[in-house]
Amino acid sequence: MASVSIRHVDKAYGPTVVMKGIDLEVADGEFVVLVGASGCGKSTLLRMIAGLEPITAGEIAIGGERVNELEPRERDIAMVFQSYALYPHLNVRSNLAFSLELRKTPAAEIEAKCKQTAGVLDLAQLLDRYPRQLSGGQRQRVAMGRAIVRQPRVFLFDEPLSNLDAKLRIAMRTEIRALHQRLGATSIYVTHDQVEAMTMADRMVVMNGGRIEQIGAPLEVYDRPGTLYVARFIGAPSINVFEGSVEADGAQARLRTRGGQHIALPWFVESGHAAPGRAISAALRPEHLAITADGSLHGTVSVVENLGHETYIYVDTADGRVCVLAERSLRLPPGAAVSLAPVVEALHLFDAPSGQRIDAGDARR
């Protein structure tokens, strides 16, 4: 078990800089999820921690020890790959035993550890099979087993669930979490699936274009997205975004959207944000819009999605399609005219050019 420190790490391929100034501290025993769209650099970062990809500048330390110059095998890490990367010429038992054999572990100990691991992951009946004879879920479990069998200091997961079908993915999600709670091993987990990130992480790291957008506990990131990118990326269905400019008259401030609608910005004036004409974006989660008789936003119902425990209503407004979480009992036919009231306290506001969050406390004008 060990902490992982990433300090001012850059990555460049020749003259092309793909990552700049990455800083991340992963505490001992923590489960950190790196999440972002494909191409954001999350897998590259993981591979740099593993030592499979050299870093251009900065420092990576595992357990306080600088590992920049160490080969992957010297870093005492284990990695689970998206393709599982099982050794096709070895059966399950030999796949599990491989790393121990390389370390010249005594045969009796190897046998005991493989048995124990097989027990934990329910692989006991599969030990003599070859990878080609296993289903996707079984391969995934062997890949997990191969990682935990030698008790490394850090676990690295590179999208380990993305090749599984939806049902199995959800089951494995829980299983991996449970395994982590049991082993307490430091884990860094890469995924493009924000639901996976939300459900599994102690802390999640949202990445975009080779930079870290935000680091925080899942609910913290969900409730206070630091940038418009994070707000859009986290949450399903996606957050509703209204772009526009500030209108202020005396003690009142409001956002006039591109579509000509209005959203009240109560605290804007006294906190000094309300420069008239300032371009901002307001974002609201589906649960923070209410269908009422006298809302400030107007539109017509286009699609109704009943998920059983909840209902999403998609409303076409002058600012595009907006998603609203509604009560199940509410029955609206497509085409019905509705008005929507934003929950003003739950508004997320972002500076339009920079995409940075605007809070009452950090007035800049």
């Binding site: 095998r73 099982l86 050794y87 096709p88 010429h89 390389l102």
Partner: protein
């Protein structure tokens, strides 16, 4: 008006079926003419004595005479031995060198395509050109190899004229000629290795040596077998290089089976015995082919 359709359709169907069968005829004919007939003829020759008299060929059924010739052929022992030495040494060297090159060039980050193109060149050179070229290079008085030796301060060597070196010189040329073939097969296999599996092994703690021995080589085994089998079969039949470089000499010191067959057929005019010898050669190659096919199929299933 209703037409009696059912019987007509029956006729069409019958015609269809027989047409399908008859359309196989060209393929059957080609096979019979090009493959079956020569083989049957070869078997017939192997049990016959064929003489040319009065402008005619005269076949007599003498199965034992060809066997007697086989047993009396004093050159056969050394020839078979030479062939085995040639196949084992040449093919082993070619596979090891081809594998090393494939791994080396496969590990390059740039220039792969260029290296691959350069490597193909020896395959493109006609064997006759290779023979003449190396005959000059092996020349005792002005050849390239002896010049190298003289620069190193060593006396010249009779590459093709000494009984101890002639076969080795032929092997050297064969290696030069055929390493690229092995390289191409193995290079494709190296390029097709699953990258993440190799990375997993590195993370799991494998050193370079362990990676090669425990992961890369086992994964390359099917391609290695294909290369080995193909090359061995071709090596058994090597003719041009020996014929052009040494003519099998001095004595029989570099004579291989194919060249011996040639001599039996065309210099000694022993058509029957030559046919018997050919049958043995084919059997030998088949004996190599069958287990190899079985092995590759087993690996292909994995």
């Amino acid at each position: 008006m209703t037409r009696p359709r059912a019987p007509r359709r029956g006729i069409v169907e019958a015609l269809n079926t027989s047409f399908r069968h008859w359309s196989l005829l060209p393929a059957v004919l080609v096979f019979a003419l090009l493959t079956a007939y020569p083989i049957v003829n070869l078997l017939r020759m192997a049990v016959s004595t064929i003489e040319f008299r009065d402008g005619r060929e005269i076949w007599t059924f003498t199965p034992l005479r060809n066997w007697d010739l086989l047993l009396a052929d004093t050159a056969l022992g050394p020839v078979v031995f030479n062939t085995l030495v040639f196949v084992v040494v040449a093919v082993a060297t070619e596979v090891v060198a081809g594998l090393a090159l494939a791994l080396l060039i496969g590990g390059l980050t740039r220039g792969k395509a260029l290296m691959r193109t350069l490597m193909i060149i020896p395959i493109l050179v006609p064997p006759v050109a290779i023979g003449s070229m190396f005959k000059l290079m092996f020349n005792h008085d002005f050849g390239f190899f002896n010049q190298l030796l003289s620069y190193a301060g060593m006396p010249p060597v009779s590459w093709l004229g000494s009984t101890s070196l002639a076969l080795l010189s032929v092997i050297l040329v064969d290696v030069w000629h055929w390493v690229p073939f092995i390289f191409l097969i193995l290079f494709a296999a190296v390029e097709g290795l699953p990258k993440e599996v190799l990375e997993a092994a590195r993370v799991d703690g494998a050193t370079r040596g362990q990676l090669l021995r425990r992961v890369t080589l086992p994964l390359l085994l099917p391609a290695l077998t294909v290369a080995l089998v193909f090359r061995s079969i071709l090596a058994f039949k090597t003719f041009d290089e020996v014929y052009l470089l040494t003519g099998g000499g001095p004595g029989t010191s570099s004579e291989l089976l194919s060249l011996h067959l040639y001599k039996v057929f065309f210099e000694q005019n022993q058509l029957g015995y030559g046919a018997l010898l050919s049958v043995f050669t084919i059997t030998g190659v088949l004996a190599l082919l069958v287990p190899a096919r079985w092995l590759t199929r087993r690996w292909a299933l994995q």
